[in-house]
Symmetry: C2
Subunit: 241 residues, 2 copies
DNA sequence: CGCTCTTTTGAAGAGCGTCAAGGCAAGTGG
DNA sequence: CCACTTGCCTTGACGCTCTTCAAAAGAGCG
């Protein structure tokens, strides 16, 4: 009977979604073919270069999005300019803060990225009708909450070396272009971004990179390319044990 | 018609829930009378003295709970003993991490408290059948995520004085026994807990209390009782302006 | 090759941590 | 009722880590 429904023309999964769904396990996975059709009518794919602001802190959020490729940083700023990156999002993460008028932070691409945006009301309507969708969104927010709290420990209780090692470990385990064991990768963030993520200055970040390199925990090529010979040694440097 | 349904015996709201529901706006508000009856059969109210561990980090969570009174601190610890409070929860917050076997952090009462516990599977079954319940849980996790990320800015980018002022401001605005404008209150945390929440030492916390007192931003009586003559001045000291 | 932007390196200083002593309030026992 | 203990908080002196300010060294690009 499911077979029959799939044969109905209007319930075919849209072409744009097909490749996406295959590669990722994002929130769209909770939607029926009909809902995907409806959503895809109002959604647009965008290619963004690194450093593009998707939504500003305190701004009205007209749209939500799914990250298809690249890294997006969530930043919170103080009136005097001090800023802190409060979250990093990777594909296939959902991007947005449902049920709020204003965004509590700004979202900016850290790397070149590709996102699939759709109107905010579109999603909120779908959420009301689709418990599975809300369930997926809830799961992601729980995951982000766990990660945020993990990072609070890093920010509050680790020293500079442990912070930098923690960041490298985070990237090695989350950002996985095509490496086998995550021991070779390109950093998606500049030194300035890393500093804003770790609550340090760029100078301190740079010094700790140098120190980890001299200690043989990592190798660095062209500032961005990192090789980790022994991931457990890095983990130990991060104080994760 | 609603009147008629209330008269049906099996759908009466349990006595234990009635007073609770009236006072709080917790997750139970999403449940039908029948579900409340079912839940209350398996739930137990507990009075806990300050410093009681509700669930340990990495432990199996047998039960979830609602906070009826008091403050619960969520703590994450490093292998060498360094620890960080990653969240404070007040009544009527929900306490627990759905869809995870182990708790990512320990939960301990900071003050004397009263909680209403129920088996984990009980809740997870109800969640599957009650979209409204999951919606409420989702809303709370979004709120906690916003708060956690706010605190990341405090931990990463504020100095000791701003951190302590931020903490006082948080308590003044969240913890509201019976004060009119939140300018007089008792601290729910010891100096050691405050230090663990702010990523500082108790000595630094103490020095900043003294400094804020000498500057006239706050008055302190008996270590725990705080008076804030001008909440906006405190807010300014916290760098929130 | 020269320009700009990013990253590294260096030297000096501030802020917070560490260690140690002392104060204060509540509880205990003679 | 008073000496003593205990737990929590405050204060002081000193040192270390990280920031700040400054300049040099790379990296990317026309």
């Amino acid at each position: 009977m499911d077979m029959q429904r799939k044969d109905i023309h209007s319930s075919e999964i849209p072409v744009v979604c097909r490749a996406c769904e295959a590669r990722h396990g994002g929130v769209c996975g909770a939607l029926s073919p009909e809902q995907l059709v409806e959503l895809s009518k109002h959604s647009t794919r965008k290619r963004l270069v690194a450093g593009t602001e998707v939504v500003g802190q305190g701004e009205d959020m007209g749209a939500f999005a799914n990250i298809m490729r690249g890294v997006v940083k969530l930043t919170r700023m103080m009136p005097d300019g001090r800023q802190q990156i409060v979250g990093l999002q990777f594909a296939p993460d959902f991007l947005g803060r449902p049920f709020a008028e204003e965004s509590p932070h700004s979202a900016e691409t850290a790397t070149d990225a590709e996102i699939c945006t759709f109107p905010r009301q579109m999603l909120e309507r779908l959420v009301g009708r689709t418990p599975d969708l809300e369930h997926k969104l809830y799961q992601q927010s729980l995951k982000e909450l766990d990660e945020a709290r993990d990072w609070m420990l890093t920010l509050g209780r680790k020293n500079a070396q442990e912070k930098v090692a923690s960041f490298l470990f985070l990237i090695a385990t989350h950002y996985d272009p095509e490496t086998v064991d995550g021991s070779v990768f390109d950093l998606p963030l500049s030194r300035a971004d890393i500093a804003d993520f770790l609550g340090l200055t760029i100078e301190t970040v740079s010094r700790q990179f140098t120190r980890l390199r001299k200690d043989g925990v990592i190798q660095i090529e062209n500032n961005r390319h990192v090789i980790v010979p022994d991931i457990e040694r890095l983990q130990h440097s991060a104080g994760i044990d």
